[in-house]
Symmetry: C2
Subunit: 703 residues, 2 copies
């Protein structure tokens, strides 16, 4: 599906393209392509057969014909000074454009971006945007053969527009260009977040920075920063320095680093919402301050994972004095109007066992432990209010009497969100966006904060602010975290930005593969760390057979890695084969689609394609065994590789039988079924992602 | 060459190994191997046929037989507290060991490293090391079947020992182990540095940090940080904030970041020597302070590269007042006793053209401009002395009367060092270590600060403190800098640490390939960024043909990239094919060695190996052309790929002719010679690194 120049030297954008499906699919990024969305209309007329690699998909766009050709005389201009958010966005834009095209732009875009006779890309905005929910992020983009205009109400809108323009970069044999079009865009939800858990595993500053850049590339606008938990207290407190000195193993963010990150986020139009999880998930606080806990100390930083017992004592006045002083410091450090206080998963054991606490409850007519937590929350709310912050908390913070300006983040289910909205609370959806569960992009993509069948009224829908992907960090390290966030979070970003009707899963995947590559220019290492990790495991650069296996394997889903025999702690190595595997195998997905197509068509060419894949997997095992012979750490994956060989062998035979009229021996069928069933069991905390495709083929044979 | 367990379950370390040369050479890291150095003796007896992948090579080691087997009950212990330099080194050691082996160590080495009954690795030191030249960095390592002892005079020695131990990690089919041995080691030179130029291209904090980690892995101990130059002033000055605010395009290190980097360096036993280049190389200062320049302003940050005219005015008293206040601030910020003031490449033009300066010179009997620079230096020396710093400067600072406690860094040639030492100055060698010139590791490796034929006396030799690799950053970005520093700098690190007799180039390369892989665990991306860059250029993950070409191409040498038609500035993209190529192609080197061997042996198997490589390169061109069709930025490399195909075709024919008795047609010979000559011309700023090998083959045919 490549755009070709026609003889009269005009690229045929709106019709005369040549279809060449299946050839180098990822090249498509630079090329104008065939599937066109209902919202994109060409020269006034609807075209369903062309598309771009935009993600999130814009609200409205119209192809106007022709191209803006890119050359070294490309200048951008707006009337802002160096240091301004948009100026720096312009600098990054030019630098990324130069990086992709190799063009030596004439403009010294670091020194000045004034509008002049040379200006080709004009950007305008009316007022600086505020980093608060509800702020205007809309933009308009008009590309003509001779100039490009990017306009927005706020500078935040311009940032979003720059990203869209970069995604529109195209190429043909003559060079680089932008297709002429008129595009209008604005987000569906105002709160589009990614939670990064820096407590379970510390995420150094550069992890946060590169992920902020990647977030901005897909128009996410909230970093929800989970900064304290049982396993670590990660913020420098100048008021209570023992918090970070004793609670972090030396792994914490200095206040200067936090300010620096907030500054970068602000430049990218991203809010930073800190979370200090209270009153549970708080072991690391008590290493320094056992006196605020509900059970006597001493406490140590927790190494294991799960719901732990340590919990603040909500019946002591000194607890609130302490938290008041702490929150006074932190609310000043983090400028966002919202402040997250966690509130999830409180185990009531220590409250039940502490007679003083029980006495307090009786005395104050607090009927049970959830009510005690509600009491705690009311006290904290008062403190936050004093410092002009609005509170955000997880599901569990809801209790009768909770003030309505609290935002509730739903993690336990869609129903929790519906309930909370029904009671008048503003809500965020995270259930269904738990990327640490290693689910598919499809699953996350189709998870809508307001699904088509939502029972919410129009008024209630306004209370759904948006959602957040959650990167809980029990089983991710600074080295692997990018590959767990990306590219799947881009699909969530589209869900939260684009109109709800945009939900074609195949098209999403087509674009996601391209976006995954372009995200690399923001520094995220979700792709490039895999070969590095495989090299380390085998201590060699001969990793071909490992890569073949890794490409069709996935970490097992949910939290089941914790029940496979290894007892994980925050010190456990996250460097094994399972950690090198991507959360979702695109190869496996493509293979399943290929099988589906083949079953429908019985096309011989598709059969050949299937066969060559199966042969690759089948013959890979022997090579892999030789490769891992002197890598004890890789011994565990030999059965996985063996399974891949066996099921591929079954697949090859099934394919042959299908092509030859399905005459099979029932003994073979039974034996093969057993092989497939066997291969479904996790090995080395991995599963074979190609199994569903193979089962499809096998079941078709059986029919 | 893999160690096999013999039947009685003892690994045959000292003799009964099985030779299997040529199989997966990089796997060897984990395996005890056959070539043994003169300094390593096994069980008292000299063994020339076993070796380890140590780099730098240690002074003395003796194999004692047997192994220490690694298991989850591996505990390390010393008597230091969390936060201590050695404690944190122990933590990193355990974490890297776990990362490579996948072992879930039982010890909570983050919380405590006390010596107990469980301790297997004992570390001891006598006193904390000082980060000054001449400090003791020696260590002793003894590995027994049941325990490991690491001892050192100072904690710095322990850091060096931990790295050696990690390099000794071995594996067989049963698991991981350390070979039993006694090892004594200490550095030949006390100043083993890497210069990173953060001015020409800004290198963000994470670049510095990961390179510090990699430096420590090869026992380098000085980061020479080039912090100001014409193209940028990179340090926050609280006294003169306009320096960094106007002189850096917003790309500078805050003082908090600098302290953080110095802290990490100190933990790694690395000194940080800042350089502020004066009086030339100073345009960026004058953007804020034109009044200290020798010609009237205004000035702008320089975008081009080369020797620029702006220079401080050394005749104004206010210049020294300004520099005094500035140096007072900076000498307090950087704790190292040495401070580098540059002093290189002063263009005297502005001094000659300024009548006030000329008048001053006449009045003060300053005969010429070099003498004026000497006057300037004497004034600065006095200021530095006031703040208890010793001065370091480049060659040019030498002038009669220069105090003898100045350290001179020789960049213009070995002779400059000999001269300066002859005059009693302590010296550093950088000439021959200019890694930005894209030379081979071999060239740098054989460049000795005190070569065998050195005319220096024994006393004079003591004045040679060591040397520094210099990563000048005109043509490197944060994205490519690691691949220009590593792995070649590891060879320089060995030159500066190991005894001078260690200079077997082939063995150095054997080990360098392994060390290059293990360096990745420190976060340096010298290997993993190449595929990423190729993906960006082609906007696809189908990069096989590009990778084949990149693996045998190198950026052209010296500074000739500046004369190939593109005019580089600090804004130019450094993302093209040439930037993705490694500085040195190991494949090309191996190919040349293969040709050499073949010419000696005329071995048919080697001929087959050569043939298969040549066929790969020959047939690659067609694939590459298809790959780059829609990547305008890659058009420039088509002739390079075509050249590779043509010279490979010549090579194939030459090989055939050699095997068939060298009967060739003189016309063919002439035409082929022309093809080889043609291919020697740079294309897209690259050269074909396999050409020398092919020429060898061709010339052998002609003989």
């Amino acid at each position: 599906m490549l755009i070709r120049k026609s003889d009269n030297n005009k690229v045929s954008l709106a019709g005369h393209y040549t279809l060449r499906v299946g050839i180098r699919p990822l090249l498509l990024f630079f090329v104008i392509i065939a599937f066109f969305y209902f919202h994109l209309t060409a020269a006034g007329e609807e075209l369903k057969s062309t598309s771009f690699n935009l993600m999130p998909w814009p609200v409205k766009a119209e192809i106007t014909g022709g191209q803006f050709r890119l050359a070294e005389n490309f200048y951008l201009g707006g009337e802002v000074k160096p240091g301004h958010r948009v100026f720096r966005a312009g600098t990054r834009f030019m630098s990324r454009l130069a990086g992709r095209t190799g063009l030596f732009f004439e403009q010294d875009y670091l020194a000045a971006q004034e509008i002049s006779n040379s200006t080709k890309l004009f950007y305008y905005f009316e007022r600086p945007g505020q980093l608060v929910p509800g702020e205007d992020e809309s933009y308009q983009l008009e590309i003509y053969p001779g100039k490009i205009e990017l306009k927005a109400k706020t500078d935040l809108g311009l940032l979003r527009g720059f990203e869209t323009l970069l995604q529109l970069l195209s190429a043909d044999e003559q060079g680089y260009f932008f297709p002429c079009l008129r595009l209008e865009d604005f987000p569906r939800f105002t709160w589009r977040g990614l939670l990064i858990d820096s407590s379970r595993h510390f995420m150094p500053v550069e992890v946060i920075k590169r992920n902020l850049l990647a977030m901005s590339a897909v128009k996410l606008n909230v970093l929800h920063w989970h900064l304290s938990d049982d396993q670590g207290f990660r913020v420098e407190s100048k008021v209570f320095p023992r918090l970070h000195l004793l609670g972090s193993d030396g792994c914490y963010y200095s206040q200067a680093e936090i300010k620096d990150i907030i500054q970068l986020a602000s430049e990218l139009g991203i809010r930073v919402v800190p979370e200090f999880d209270l009153p549970g998930h708080s072991t690391s606080w008590f290493v320094a301050y056992p006196e605020y806990a509900s059970a006597p100390g001493p406490y140590q930083i927790e190494r294991k994972f799960g719901v732990m017992l340590p919990v603040f004592n909500p019946t002591l006045e000194k607890t609130y004095k302490f938290l008041d002083r702490f929150l006074k410091e932190m609310t000043a450090l983090f400028p966002d109007p919202y402040f997250h206080l966690g509130g999830d998963e409180v185990d009531p054991k220590h409250w039940k066992e502490n007679p003083e606490i029980q006495k307090f409850m009786k005395k104050n007519n607090i009927p049970d432990e959830p009510a005690l937590q509600a009491y705690f929350n009311r006290r904290l709310l008062k403190i936050l209010g004093k410092y002009q912050k609005k509170m955000v908390g997880w599901d569990e913070i809801y209790q009768p009497g909770l003030p309505q300006d609290v935002v509730i983040q739903s993690w336990r289910g869609q129903q929790a969100l519906v309930d909370a909205v029904g009671k008048g609370y503003r809500c965020l959806l995270s259930n269904g966006y738990y990327i640490d569960l290693m689910g598919s992009a499809e699953k996350h993509y189709l998870n809508d904060p307001i699904p088509p069948d939502s029972p919410l009224t129009a008024e209630e829908r306004k209370l759904v602010l948006g959602g957040e992907a959650t990167m809980w960090a029990e089983l991710v390290s600074a080295e692997t975290v990018d590959s767990r966030i990306w590219p799947r979070t881009a699909a969530i970003a589209e869900r939260l930005w684009s109109p709800p009707e945009i939900r074609d899963v195949d098209d999403m995947y087509r674009r996601l593969k391209v976006i995954s590559l372009t995200l690399e220019e923001n520094g995220v290492n979700h792709l490039k760390n895999q070969p590095m990790m495989l090299r380390r495991l085998v201590q060699s650069d001969q990793i071909k057979s490992l890569a073949v296996l890794a490409a069709v394997s996935e970490p097992i889903k949910g939290y089941s890695r914790h029940s496979q025999g290894k007892s994980y702690s925050s010190l456990s190595p996250l460097t094994r084969f399972v950690d090198a595997c991507y959360a979702e195998s695109f190869q496996a997905r493509d293979f399943k689609r290929l099988i589906e197509d083949f079953i429908n068509s019985l096309d011989r060419r598709q059969a050949e394609e299937i066969k060559s894949k199966l042969q690759l997997w089948q013959t890979n095992h022997q090579k892999l065994v030789a490769t891992v012979a002197f890598s004890p750490v890789l011994k565990e994956i030999i059965p996985l590789s063996e399974n891949l060989a066996s099921v591929s062998q079954v697949g090859l035979e099934a394919l042959r039988l299908i092509l030859n009229g399905k005459r099979f021996d029932p003994t073979w069928l039974q034996a093969s079924q057993k092989i497939l069933d066997e291969a479904r069991k996790p090995v080395a905390e991995c599963e074979l992602a190609v199994l569903p495709g193979l089962e499809l083929l096998f079941n078709y044979l059986k029919k």
